[in-house]
Subunit: 309 residues, 2 copies
């Protein structure tokens, strides 16, 4: 006989069931659980606080949304594997934001509309928060995939390749310190790699073939890069929550510089359209196209909306 | 019919067979293979160089030696799993040295007898080299364990826990930034965690039970911490290849400060002896005791050898 559940446990189970239906809640719940383990017995409390500060509140969570979206489109059977992969990708992204904002890189004072981690907690804890988030990402991935270890090897390779050397976000950031920059490698590594990993990891998590999903990730990654250039050029700092005009200030390559504003918006719209068209035939294709449409609405800055088709 | 091998391939196979017999060569070969993949197609060349610089030439490689030693004592059947685990632990150690030497921490100008990474390559590439090495460590682990994915989940958890939060080397370093330091958590995390992971990962890699091997790692870790304090107190910089007198300069806790020189040496000898005694009954126990004896010979600085029993 099942005993009646105490109210608090019933509420928790109901919240968990609700969270399982809503991708955004699934991502926040998985990230929250990862950060709780980090702050466990014996943790230095200020670093635990700095890591949580770096992850919450998040931005659009576009990469983990994409990862979960592909897993659902592939008919995920084991939701925790995709949730672990999505959380891992978002944690890597958060780690890269913390380190990219350091004084020796962009020396950014704001991020996601609040004070950057190194300004709020000091430089030592910002370095360590980034390090800790990278490690936590792999833990989230492994915990999610513990029920199907044979999927972990492939997932880990996809997430690691998108993060480290020779072609992940760490490599992308390093191109800014090279005497001669390879622009194609730079953009693919700095922005494209994690998007491409998001779609492929989503497929792998669902037990699917990652290859047909590579184009979707790469196209969204390119679109996001153009969108970022447009925002850097045109937005008010308050609108995007981080310093603007950084490309021009640092002499960095930008789609706006090479194509002009209207050309860059045309390119962005072409990439989003190609991304939607690249989605392989599957049960969840329509939902995924809707997700991409909704996500890409924020891609053109408000102040440039008059240029958009 | 087997065709005769070309001389170069025969030489390579013979070198590989030779390397498989010698733990030191196995470790160097695995680290070298990992760093080669890092420098592959599309890699930013200066970061690839900085990462290699951070790993070669190494120090005593005491943590990966311990890991392989335990795996061999447990009768390893799949050498590549233990090699991947040993390399992962050493890469995490190298990453922590690069980040700990940064200007916002110790601002060390030398490490392992040469110019520190941030002095040689600049601060941005030192931050990224550390990040890249953490990611590479997980890749080395996963590649080694690809033939037995069911062992990867446990290995990853052990290596990640020894590196990240709440009790790994990142947490240990963070205690130095807390307003109140918990000395027991600090030492266990900063030094003990990676040693304890080395012995447990060695057992896991060989398909064994990690629990009986925890004490060995913890005791060696404690002995190493006392040895480090003695070196910091007494050595010439040229002897240990990094700045000395840092504990006193930074007001850090030290076994020398609390026990005096002779007391610290007594403690060190007691810990090494207890470590040897803690080795579980197994075929390779004698070899492992010999390895620990040989490794611990460098624990007492030359200038203090007159105090040792």
């Amino acid at each position: 006989m099942d005993l009646p559940l105490p109210t608090s446990e019933r509420a928790a189970r109901s919240a968990a069931a609700e969270a399982r239906r809503d991708p955004k809640l699934r991502i926040e719940a998985t990230l929250d659980a990862a950060l709780r383990l980090c702050a466990g017995e014996g943790a230095p409390p200020t670093l635990a606080a700095a890591m949580r500060y770096a992850v919450f509140p998040g931005g659009a969570r576009i990469r983990p949304r994409l990862c979960l979206g592909v897993a659902m489109a592939c008919g995920e059977g084991a939701p925790e594997i995709a949730e672990g992969a999505a959380a891992a990708i978002e944690l890597m992204h958060c780690a890269s934001l913390v380190h990219d904002d350091l004084p020796c890189f962009d020396d950014a004072s704001t991020r996601r509309g609040k004070i950057s981690v190194h300004r709020a907690f000091g430089e030592p804890l910002a370095v360590l928060a980034g390090d800790g988030l990278i490690v936590l990402a792999f833990q989230a991935l492994a915990r999610g995939a513990a029920i199907a270890p044979d999927r972990l090897v492939g997932l880990l390779e996809v997430v690691a390749a998108a993060t480290g050397m020779p072609g992940g976000i760490v490599a992308g950031q390093a191109w800014e310190s090279e005497p001669e920059i390879d622009l194609s490698h730079y953009h693919r590594a700095k922005t494209g790699a994690l998007f491409s990993a998001a779609t492929r990891a989503g497929a792998l998590a669902a037990g699917g073939d990652p290859k047909p999903w590579r184009a979707l990730g790469e196209l969204i990654g390119e679109a996001y890069q153009v969108a970022d250039d447009l925002h850097d050029f045109a937005s008010e700092e308050a609108e995007i929550g981080k310093p603007v005009g950084q490309d021009a200030a640092h002499g960095r390559a930008s789609a706006v510089a090479s194509l002009g504003v209207e050309g860059a918006i045309d390119r962005l719209e072409g990439l989003v359209s190609a991304a939607k068209d690249s989605i392989p035939d599957c049960a969840g294709a329509a939902d995924l196209r809707a997700l991409i449409g909704a996500s890409s609405e924020r891609f053109v800055p408000k102040s440039l909306a008059r240029f958009a088709a």
